[in-house]
């Protein structure tokens, strides 16, 4: 029994942390957030060279062949520094191709993903905003062997930066008619429109499909059989977002606790007052708790798929509820300085507000916990 990380994983964590601390502290994150693409190609390339983009990609396709627990280690660190990158989006596209792609499809896309040249994403949500298979309404028209897609997807992570879109669509009325297509950026009829984000370190956008032609060689797995994989990808998304939430919340707690030790009012550090001390203790309790839930969910994705949905929902439900509260307390306990643009507190609060609904909010996931828990 070992519910902890291996030496290799701790080493990986230390390397990612060192890279980010040296290259991309929050001042740099702020600069990148003001650019249109929102992230740095050169850091992304370095990430890829160090093997962190292709962490889950099999070795035969140029990756390292590790699992979700390893990716969580990297994401905790990218979350800690609010590192802007299409890592989560690309990991989800990569996971889809790894899980259901033919040998030819894997050979076509995975090496590019692993070496950083192909940014991928998952177009998981439509205007109905219904998460899951029930929300897939994009209906394909048949044209001989191919499918023609006309419709839209919204809240697509890193849409404007992506080269590959994994797009769920339907070819009939039921969940047994859901397929996943991989659509390349240059495909005729595909258009991307960036959307503003409450978290300046995140990029997302709308995908418009106007008669986009999807040949059978761009369908992952058998046409119509993608519902279980799509649900799993949503679990993966919830896990990835929550892993970054751990790092970001811990950084927010450190910032606030250290401020509470230094800031003097009424002749003493404010951290001596229980009105300050107790919310900080609550932050710690919440972070440690959704961290445990998340580690288990990541482990289940790798080792116990039948428990992964419940585990992922518990983690995301807890984090979606706790992280915004942590963000608000981070700003609030700082007082006036926390309200300023210049101070970093708001960056964490905005990440929390962005994270909350992404891949399902607390209501969505608690309902799923209730259902999967037999009520």
């Amino acid at each position: 029994m070992n519910f902890g990380f291996s030496e290799e994983q701790e080493l990986l964590r230390a390397e990612v942390r060192k890279f980010l601390d040296q290259n991309c502290p929050l001042e740099e994150v702020r600069k990148l957030s003001e650019t249109p693409q929102g992230f740095s190609r050169s850091y992304w390339d370095r990430f890829a060279e160090l093997g962190w983009v292709g962490l889950g990609v099999p070795e035969v396709h140029g990756g390292i062949g590790l699992g979700w627990v390893d990716l969580v280690v990297v994401l905790e660190e990218t979350g800690r520094t609010l590192f802007p990158s299409p890592l989560i989006a690309t990991s989800l596209a990569s996971a889809a191709i790894q899980a259901a792609g033919s040998e030819a499809q894997q050979a076509r896309w995975l090496p590019g993903i692993a070496d950083g040249s192909l940014i991928g994403t998952l177009a998981h949500l439509e205007d109905s905003d219904v998460l899951g298979c029930a929300g897939v309404e994009l209906l394909a028209r048949r044209d001989a062997d191919a499918f023609l897609l006309t419709g839209g997807k919204h809240m697509v992570l890193d849409a404007a930066n992506a080269d590959l879109f994994v797009v769920p669509f339907k070819s009939g009325a039921g969940e047994e008619d859901i397929s996943l297509a991989v659509i390349e950026r240059a495909t005729a009829g595909l258009d991307v429109e960036p959307a503003g984000s409450i978290d300046v370190t995140q990029r997302q956008g709308r995908l418009r499909l106007d008669g986009v032609r999807v040949e059978t060689d761009a369908i992952l797995g058998e046409p119509g059989g993608a519902a279980p994989l799509f649900e799993r990808l949503l679990d993966c998304g919830a896990v990835a977002i929550t892993a970054e939430a751990i790092g970001a919340s811990e950084a927010a707690l450190e910032l606030t606790a250290s401020y509470a030790k230094q800031r003097v009012q009424f002749d003493q550090p404010i951290g001596r007052f229980q009105g300050v001390k107790h919310p900080l203790a609550e932050m710690y309790v919440d972070i440690e708790s959704f961290k445990s839930l998340l580690y288990y969910a990541a482990w289940a994705l790798d080792n116990l798929p039948e428990e992964a949905s419940l585990a992922a929902s518990r983690a995301k439900a807890y984090a979606s509820e706790a992280f915004p509260r942590i963000g608000i307390d981070t700003v609030g306990l700082h007082g006036g300085i926390g309200y300023t643009w210049e101070y970093d507190a708001h960056l964490y609060l905005k990440r929390a507000k962005w994270c909350r609904p992404t891949f399902g909010d607390a209501d969505y996931h608690y309902e799923r916990v209730a259902r999967l828990g037999g009520i």
């Binding site: 627990v69 959704f290 580690y295 807890y318």
Partner: protein, 384 residues
């Protein structure tokens, strides 16, 4: 990460399961004869005091074996291992760590056999959360200590034969934690008066205990005079992985779910009420977080890494869950939640449950004390 057991651990689990298959009967069928037989058999296997060293009569079980044993017992709702609760939880570990040979021989076998109960004389009317401020006076006269003062909230004092007692042997100290001494006191010693206190659910679990020139032989002192605080703190530290408590909460939650299915609320089963569903899911999620927090804590212990005050996280969760599950169980019943006794569902089981949380929530250090511990010892904030 790996949740599999080593082969020898798996073998131990199989041994425990085989024993339970053979010897355990369902909850409703546990007669006095069964209980006597059960106690004898688990004692024979040295599963009472399983974590204690073999040379004092314990089981010498490894940390992982202790977890496996507790786990399997809890899963099958087996009766407790041993009946001397406080003796097993902290008096015994204190005696093993600080006691003389004579004390070990005199007390440990009786604790393991459950011959009689121990109670714990810590809190005083003016010393609750601030336990180290305790004032019960204790003066040495020759081979005896003479104790005068009062304890309160002493659980099961009226049914106990012995008490582990904290007294003040010196007031001339720089810090209040010094000058405290730990004594082992027989409850029928002249000068001790026990007065049970009726609690808000109508029962009496705890009592006031008065000491009026109570004479305690010096040989019944546990540890060094003036170092009773250290004795207490390290004995209490024996009780903290928190994994065992999770099973109790899982069981309560499963009963609350059943209740939600069977009660109607607003014209439909309470289990279909979105508010109730969300609260059940939230409790479920926090209970699972406790289980997993406990596993991370255990992993650190197994690796020999230092463990500190992290256990306060689960103590806090548990306290809040005990309160919330009681409230939820009554709200599920709608207006009938306001009934009690024979008029209420299940003879008022949930009404009683919803009034019993203070035993857990206040007994082991209040939630605000846990928050202080986390803020000061983990986050390094200045002490109050």
């Amino acid at each position: 990460m790996d949740f599999n057991l080593e082969p020898e651990e798996e073998a131990f689990r199989a041994e425990v399961c085989a024993f339970l298959d053979e010897n355990l009967v369902p909850d409703g069928e546990r007669t006095a004869e069964f209980m006597a037989e059960w106690s004898r058999k688990v004692r024979e296997r040295r599963w009472v005091g399983f974590s204690w060293p073999a040379d004092v009569g314990g089981g010498g079980g490894s940390l992982m074996q202790q977890v496996i044993l507790k786990d399997e017992m809890a899963k099958r709702k087996a009766p407790p291992l041993g009946s001397c609760f406080m003796g097993l939880a902290w008096v015994g570990p204190g005696i093993i760590q600080y006691g003389t040979e004579e004390q070990k021989q005199k007390f440990i076998p009786d604790i393991l056999d459950g011959t009689y109960q121990w109670c714990t004389g810590y809190s005083e009317p003016d010393s609750g959360s601030d336990l180290a401020s305790l004032k019960t006076r204790c003066v040495r006269e020759g081979d005896e200590y003479v104790v005068n003062g009062q304890k309160i909230w002493t659980s099961i004092a009226m049914w106990s034969k012995w008490m582990i007692l904290l007294v003040r042997t010196s007031t001339n100290v720089e810090v209040k934690h010094d000058g405290i001494t730990c004594l082992l006191v027989e409850m029928d010693t002249p000068g001790i008066t026990v007065r049970p206190i009726k609690n808000m659910s109508g029962g009496s679990i705890f009592a006031e205990v008065f000491f009026d020139d109570v004479r305690v032989p010096v040989e019944n002192r546990l540890g060094v005079e003036g170092q009773g605080w250290q004795v207490t703190v390290s004995a209490l530290a024996n009780e903290r992985s928190g994994i065992a408590e999770v099973h109790g909460l899982v069981r309560t939650l499963s009963d609350v779910k059943e209740l939600a299915r069977s009660c109607r609320r607003g014209g439909r089963p309470a289990s279909q009420d979105p508010g109730i569903r969300r609260r059940i899911a939230s409790a479920d999620t926090r209970i699972e977080a406790m289980r997993l927090n406990g596993m991370r804590f255990l992993t650190k212990q197994l690796k020999g890494e230092p463990v500190g005050s992290e256990s306060s996280v689960n103590k806090l969760h548990r306290a809040l869950l005990e309160i919330e599950l009681g409230e939820l169980a009554l709200e599920i019943q709608g207006s009938r939640g306001a009934l009690d006794g024979e008029s209420a569902l299940d003879g008022g089981r949930w009404q009683k449950f919803s009034l019993n949380w203070p035993e857990v929530v206040i007994g082991g250090g209040t939630p605000n004390i846990q928050r202080n511990i986390i803020a000061e010892r983990i986050l390094g904030l200045p002490k109050d």
